[in-house]
Symmetry: C2
Subunit: 170 residues, 2 copies
DNA sequence: TCGAATATGTCAGTTATGTTGACATAAATT
DNA sequence: AATTTATGTCAACATAACTGACATATTCGA
């Protein structure tokens, strides 16, 4: 393993590393985001492995805890998945007592979602290591640094869709 | 839809939004990361839908372009997936002419991976919208802001494993 | 009041991407 | 010559997404 460079192997082949200089493509941050998010998600994954749930359950438990009384439609809009996808994990979470459904007080077609005490504990257990990781990443940065990162991440997010836009929940 | 608060539906139910205040849990950044990464990944997804490839292909094409001559073992280590997982997408990328394999010049057991011209173009096409999104998120921030975000994202990433650590490539 | 629209649920089949386990081959190392 | 390493491959399986179709209860609008 002494040499490090690439050896040209054939004709229709690119041997130079793609740095993005020619087009000013920001490969550095593309990769930082990839690795940061992968490791960020690995913390709860380890916990979920134990309980038999997956990432899909994590997301549902998280948002139901953040906004108790959420309707199914609102949850679908937040997660941007289909109702058939949600149905499976939601059913498991309800059956195992992490989430309960309550008919909407004004619109009784709605099934408003609430966490049980158990669901609240799971949400906290999953969030703890992620929050610790974030705190670690902010070490050495001041309040201004926090504001900068918040501005950056906010700028990465798509503007919210107009309330009347078509959806894929059929 | 006149009321906004939650109505208490039963006994074993939490009705207050989970803010994380009690434990200082940083739900704000947990969600910022979730939405930022989801939208970040949606750009290439739209392109991939057209070509019949998926995210797994994207990652392979990306890293092979970034480091032409990469060995299969190095790629597996980077992606942290099993060789059986990689095999499927890598075969498709080779068969459709985006990547070529060349026996290692010093160790002929190795299959060093190179992008073809086509593969290089795909990598660029996938990276362009992501880079644009990053540039947009940096608007209004100076060079120091860039350094702050870089420090934050780097701090989110697990330290590299020791070179002799056990793996799951069996 | 009645028909249409809405909120949700469910059945059935498919796809993408990951997993484990077992085994094969060629080349390098000891 | 025997073992280890780098890679490939077959088979079975799990998760989580998808599309399409249809069912039910409730609300809303003409």
């Amino acid at each position: 393993m002494s040499h490090t460079g690439a050896i040209k192997p054939a004709s229709d082949v690119s041997v130079a590393p793609l740095t993005g200089e020619a087009e000013n493509i920001d490969f550095e941050f593309i990769e930082l985001l990839f690795f940061a998010y992968r490791d960020f998600i690995s913390d709860p994954d380890a916990i979920l492995d134990t309980s038999g749930f997956g990432r899909a359950h994590h997301r549902v438990v998280h948002f139901v805890n953040r906004e108790p009384g959420l309707t199914v439609a609102a949850l679908l809009e937040t997660l941007k998945i289909t109702k058939q996808s949600l149905a499976r994990v939601l059913k498991q979470l309800i059956d195992s007592g992490y989430i309960t459904q309550v008919a909407g007080p004004e619109d009784r077609r709605q099934r408003r979602l609430y966490p049980t005490e158990r669901g609240r504990e799971l949400a906290l257990a999953l969030a703890r290591p992620q929050s610790r990781r974030i705190a670690h990443a902010f070490e050495g940065l001041d309040e201004g640094g926090r504001a900068v990162v918040k501005a950056f991440l906010s700028g990465m997010i798509n503007p919210a869709a107009r309330p009347g836009a078509p959806d894929k929940t059929g």
